[in-house]
Symmetry: C2
Subunit: 348 residues, 2 copies
Amino acid sequence: RQSLKIGMLPADGIGREVLPGAKAAILALGSSIPKTEFIDLLAGFEYFTRTGTALPDETVEILKNECDCALFGAVSSPSRKVTGYSSPIVALRKKMDLFANIRPVKSVSVNPEGKPGVDLVVIRENTECLYVKQETQTVGEHGKEARATRLITERASRRIGELAFKMALERPRKHLTVIHKSNVLSITDGLFRETVRAVPTLPGVDGKYDDVTVAEQLVDSAVYRLFREPEIYDVMVAPNLYGDILSDAAAALVGSLGLVPSVNAGDSFVMGEPVHGSAPDIAGQNIANPLAAIRSAAMMLRHIGYVDGANRIEKAVDSVLREGKVLTPDLGGKSKTSEVVDEVTRRI
Amino acid sequence: RQSLKIGMLPADGIGREVLPGAKAAILALGSSIPKTEFIDLLAGFEYFTRTGTALPDETVEILKNECDCALFGAVSSPSRKVTGYSSPIVALRKKMDLFANIRPVKSVSVNPEGKPGVDLVVIRENTECLYVKQETQTVGEHGKEARATRLITERASRRIGELAFKMALERPRKHLTVIHKSNVLSITDGLFRETVRAVPTLPGVDGKYDDVTVAEQLVDSAVYRLFREPEIYDVMVAPNLYGDILSDAAAALVGSLGLVPSVNAGDSFVMGEPVHGSAPDIAGQNIANPLAAIRSAAMMLRHIGYVDGANRIEKAVDSVLREGKVLTPDLGGKSKTSEVVDEVTRRI
Ligand SMILES: CC(C)[C@H](C(=O)O)[C@@H](O)C(=O)O
Ligand SMILES: CC(C)[C@H](C(=O)O)[C@@H](O)C(=O)O
């Protein structure tokens, strides 16, 4: 690549405060990555309240036609039912076919509230399950009845399964836990479980995954064990909604959602996204933790091949955390968002 | 009542080891409750593998026609897809119309791994959501496609909401958190959330719930905050699947699923059930913690009016825990199931 175009979608709340930090970290890489252009793009609940659309077509078109990758901030949730609103992040994942949400969670020595020994990655299927948003409401004998469809396909389960096996193989422990609830959802979660487990027997795979140990766990007991013995987990692969819940649960183990990055990844596009939400309670105060967004930028860069750049950003973040002097309040510190960003970029 | 008939459904694994403990605790109450008859009833995955049915009609009929209440042990989950199998506990909740699953979780001083300050109750809707088990599978262009229906009705949401408000009002903090994911499931979880929140405005309610403070939380961040600041929760009300996950998460906070009881309650029947599973890994060793089952028996007795008996059992359990000498391995002890049962019954 001669140049790099990164779509920037801060969206709502602290999304707008942490994305500039991610941009600063990328810029600090200087000439070790191609000349980078950042394209500001519109999306979000606040944008919806002004315009009636949460994700303009133009945003999707620019992402598809002009951008090499993207960063998303966070989106607010309406506090009451709002007709016509639909989450832009859910729509983006689907429209860009970003079928995998990869969420690594690792303990941080600085955090006294965190559990030691956590080093896992949640691989969340990102396009189906209850997120297909096929919902209806009717009125029956006893009042309103609402129904949602939960879709699980062999195709989506297979591609997320392949990614999960691939990632497990790359990690030292090579351990994969398949999360499901097939004791209740025998057909949908049964299909997910069987399809993922069958990945090593796919044509052409030829023993490639022989070194991966596969376990499985019902989602309820997975959350229980995640709190009790997080060290048992390495790679976890889960349908969309379970992955959503599990990654928040795992984030609690390391003491702050403000540390946990992710990428939404497809075959031809990647979008970094901190796992935290828009945090309206702390928005606008310059105290949001920018590290999840900065780490998401690193993950995004690694994904498109800039491994050195990604490593440099991640090492800078780790050293700021290890030193433990410049931290935002969620980590017990007193620093501002911008001070943490400066400290990280100085070390890149 | 002249006499009390209790249906006993040990089902699988450690369910068979903990239910005798619950029976012993009830018998230890002696003449302070009516003459009690225990009726052993068949159900479970093991029973299914022998007979092809997991919940014989006879069991349901005896429960409906002869029993005043019941105790369920735990059910195993098939490790592979098994045609024709359907979870008997899910079926029982529906067939007996046990619409609420009430799961109190409280920190125990004895447990160094538990978090202090946890004192909450999860009220789980028990009959619908994805548990309606309407699943289909078709074959599409790219392979198999499976669909499940998630049903949320106004009627079920209202009755679980009414129970939740009632329970919140009875507790010192009078705080209720409504759990949902209406940022994605705007119709189904939107209906749940609005119906529960509207309970104080129902005809005839007349300011009864004015003292209840109502909050709400998305299920993913609810799990996160449950780990980080469990003390913020008092009563949590949730659709079926979220309640399943949340109660396991809450159990992790107090250090062992082996401590957490529940009742499945309807308008005319109640069935106690420890929150833990059948634990095949430790079954048959006489080391399962019987306290969740014993506490479930107490909850069941309280529910049908035997408050003194329930208190006596609960006090005995609490004193065994406080003393911390006779504990099963899940709590760091070395005692057998039967030794814990003896210790509890001695104190009743
Ligand atoms: C904002 C919301 C739609 C989203 C989700 O549920 O996927 C968020 O919780 C996340 O984890 O990215
Ligand atoms: C065994 C299973 C069907 C059950 C459930 O999901 O309800 C269990 O996890 C529970 O919490 O009682």
